[in-house]
Amino acid sequence: MSYKLFVIEDNRTEGMLLQLALVEIEGLEMRTFANGQAMLDKMYENPTIAIVDLILPDMSGMELIKKIKAQNENVRIVVVSAQRSIDVIAELQAQGIYNYLIKSEACLSYLHDVIADLLIIIKYKNGELK
């Protein structure tokens, strides 16, 4: 079974880096969108995971998270951001995000591990793993 991961990325290099970071995770289908609205327009495809930056071309990350949750509260949202404010992270947690990664030299490696572990949990819950 394939699980959809939605991500907003309008930069070719950053998109390649994400692809390289996640390519070896089995059963993951990555869809890249240019902005938040383009992602929201495809929410009917029921993504399992969404990766969200707090700064987006057309809306704030917080606004996007609220809209995603309003449409489908089961989407696991992973925020990747340079923002280190405890208040911001606390507000994101209150919105029910799954995980928060601070941008760093090693964040793609962390992201790989977070997504791989999350898929294992989801597959286990769905009875695909024992």
């Binding site: 290099t13 880096l17 030299e105």
Partner: protein, 195 residues
């Protein structure tokens, strides 16, 4: 007009290997070689370029951001940045996070080059201790390019070529001398065809 590109990636033990490939290599005016070798994060000196330049009379260049790719040159990924080939045949340098624990990342160079040069690209992966470059070789193969790995028994550490062999089909498994001979023929063949 550039019509043949070779990308070379390597890690542990690769400086000696790449020097041996460059020593006696002829790069025609329509061709270029792009090299990405893993370096220590702390190595910000320009020493590697000089070491490779010592092996060849062809200019070995560490490109600047937005520098155009010109035929007859050898380009080396600078330390601590990803080297990306853009569709307008320029390089861009990116300080984005590490890929496969590496920056510059072989995968980033190979993947970006495969999208731009497609069947006019040959990927060469030599000795190394991680699997950076394996996905890039798969992308090159899927774009119609050719793939070569260093004969694993000759490698200082064969993890890198073997990772590529496990992920995609490899056209040629060659020792260092044969890689250089293959490249010389490859670069010359295209020029003869164009004439």
């Amino acid at each position: 007009m550039i019509n043949k590109i070779a990308v070379i990636g390597g890690s542990a033990g690769s400086i000696k290997v790449v020097k041996a490939i460059l020593n006696g290599l002829s790069v025609e005016n329509e061709c270029a070689v792009l090299i990405c070798l893993h370096r220590l994060q702390t190595d910000i000196s320009a020493g590697l370029r000089e070491v490779l330049q010592y092996a060849t009379e062809i200019p070995v260049i560490e490109p600047k951001d937005r520098q155009a790719i010109q035929g007859g040159n050898i380009y080396l990924a600078p330390p601590n940045v990803h080297l990306v080939v853009e569709h307008d045949l320029c390089f861009s340098l990116s300080s984005s996070p590490l890929v496969q624990y590496s920056r510059p990342s072989i995968d980033v160079l190979f993947l970006s080059a495969s999208e731009v040069f497609q069947e006019n690209l040959t990927g060469i992966l030599v000795t190394g201790a991680n699997k950076d470059g394996a996905f890039g070789m798969k992308a090159i193969k899927e774009s119609g390019g050719q793939t070569i790995v260093q004969e694993p028994s000759e490698c200082f550490i064969d993890t890198m070529p073997k990772a590529a062999m496990g992920l995609t089909s490899i056209d040629h498994v060659l020792n260092v001398e044969a890689i250089r001979a293959w490249l010389n023929k490859y670069f010359k063949e295209k020029v003869i065809l164009r004439r």
